[in-house]
Symmetry: C2
Subunit: 307 residues, 2 copies
């Protein structure tokens, strides 16, 4: 199935306890597309960059079968830039600098040939921009996945809440789920959030795994304990990309298949964090993905009899 991916394509400068980068190519949509590209060849991108964005990076996406027709390149303007520094525990970070640049006033235009995409993956962006994309689709996609973050809950809740009504799967982290629901227990939070619109909720807990909820069921996928977490940037987007890509490949939206998609999302996220930026997502192979999938299977496998 075809997947339309909307989100930032950006420059990041990242500092972790293990080193720092100059400006490197990042952005939610970049990670999502790269992670999805292992599962489907029908990827379409809507985003915006400035004239300073390297042609090689666009070519790299095209080589991964991403249709970049919807990538606006703004002459004389600069690409969105984010710079951040991770603390020693790698779970928290400080934003050092944000330059919105082309993102300020971004008006997403969905090319006609993208308007019938079957899946829509709305990466973390201003909720009003996410809404504009959905409004341009010629028919309601079979699946709408939306990622968002605490910033939009802090300042744009009035836009976010209506957006949630049109969503099939919402992906947020545990703190965001607590903020959105005003419940500390994640099971209680999930019940409240599922009443806000999404049919499925994924709560990402970083190194502690991810929970998938629908109204009646719950599934937990662990994160793989790793020797080195080098750079967590993009882990959530890689997760979303692996998740959506797997669903597009398998064309099955049952809860059981969503569970598999969550595991594949976790596999892609586990690769993402092992190197700086998108480096690892650009270089891994299907064989490596399948091998790591088996690590996940083995990690939680047990058989047990009642007492």
């Amino acid at each position: 199935m075809s997947v339309l991916v909307v989100g930032t394509v950006a420059f990041d400068a990242i500092e972790t306890p293990f080193g720092k980068t100059d400006k490197i190519v990042g952005g939610a949509a970049t990670y999502i597309c790269l992670a999805s590209s292992f599962f489907t060849k029908e990827l379409k991108l809507v985003s915006v960059v400035g004239e300073d964005f390297p042609k090689d990076a666009v070519k790299m996406l095209k080589n991964k079968s991403v249709d970049t027709t919807g990538l606006q390149i703004k002459k004389g303007e600069k690409t969105f830039f984010w710079s951040g520094k991770y603390h020693n525990n790698m779970n928290t970070r400080d934003t050092l600098e944000t330059q919105l640049n082309v993102l300020e006033g971004f008006n997403p235009i969905v090319p006609d040939k993208f308007k019938e995409s079957e899946f829509l993956m709305l990466g973390n962006l201003m909720p009003s921009v996410q809404k504009k994309v959905l409004a341009q689709m010629s028919k309601r996609p079979k699946l709408v996945v939306l990622d968002t973050m605490n910033f939009w809950m802090d300042h744009y809740m009035q836009d976010l809440l209506p957006a949630l009504k049109n969503v099939d799967v919402l992906t947020i982290n545990d703190e965001e789920a607590r903020q959105l629901s005003e419940e500390y227990s994640l099971t209680k939070a999930a019940k409240k959030i599922l009443k806000m619109g999404p049919r499925y909720l994924i709560i990402k807990k970083g190194e502690h795994g991810a929970l998938l909820f629908n109204e009646k069921e719950i599934f937990f996928a662990p994160a793989l304990p790793l020797d080195e977490v080098f750079d967590p940037t993009g882990a959530g987007d890689s997760f979303a990309g692996g998740f959506t890509g797997y669903l597009a490949r398998t064309k099955n939206l049952s809860f059981n298949n969503m569970k598999r998609a969550v595991v594949y999302g976790s596999v892609l996220a586990s690769f993402c964090v092992e190197k700086f930026g998108t480096e690892q997502l650009q270089s891994i192979t299907k064989e490596q993905i399948n091998c790591r999938l088996q690590n996940f299977v083995d990690l939680v496998k047990f058989d047990v009899e009642p007492i």
Copy 2:
């Protein structure tokens, strides 16, 4: 198999966001015995209390098939008392008061009929006391499980390190594993700790589950997402009790069976936190345990094909 349990039997006063208790019966050995009692009827206790300790509480333990011959009752002295207040997130707490009382200068005496116990569960206590118990056994038990905490790492590392050399299974939490190994990554921490003596390491992550390591393998058991976490006191001890009790029942020390034991430990911990103190462990039934076991099975069950 027979299990000798050593640890505190105490009074606790607990305050959580959901309420507070007066002095209630607690202590590591109490939780361990109660959790183990669902799996084995050959439980032996070595501990110490003061004259103020209620006879009913001793009777309650006896009714759970715990042999209390090794429970010293010190005339004219008072039972160990701990009081603590949990923060809103329930993951952190402040100790409000600690009265060592009978625990000060506690000299554990293992009754002769306990000295051939096949399993030894050393609950969290001063490492030198744990060592004294092991030294009194007539032969090396088939399994020695040791629980400890950051306090002993801060002040008694010189006693703790030699104690670890005689241990089969060490149970600590994630922060303690990091402190003991001086490694942030839990997989790296596990490799270092397994070189200190234990053949198996369990890292407890509270609401994020538990990891089991041996030299070559790793297993992850989730915690069950709960609507209400009422009082986390004793969760780690209930885990250790369920774990050790299950191994004693099944008489099988393979890694595969340890995995099952970790899941049963998690089941018992999930019950413990739903009510104040030991209330829930005193009232649950085998049927409830089996039902919850199935919740754990369902929570992580998935089947997936490679791509």
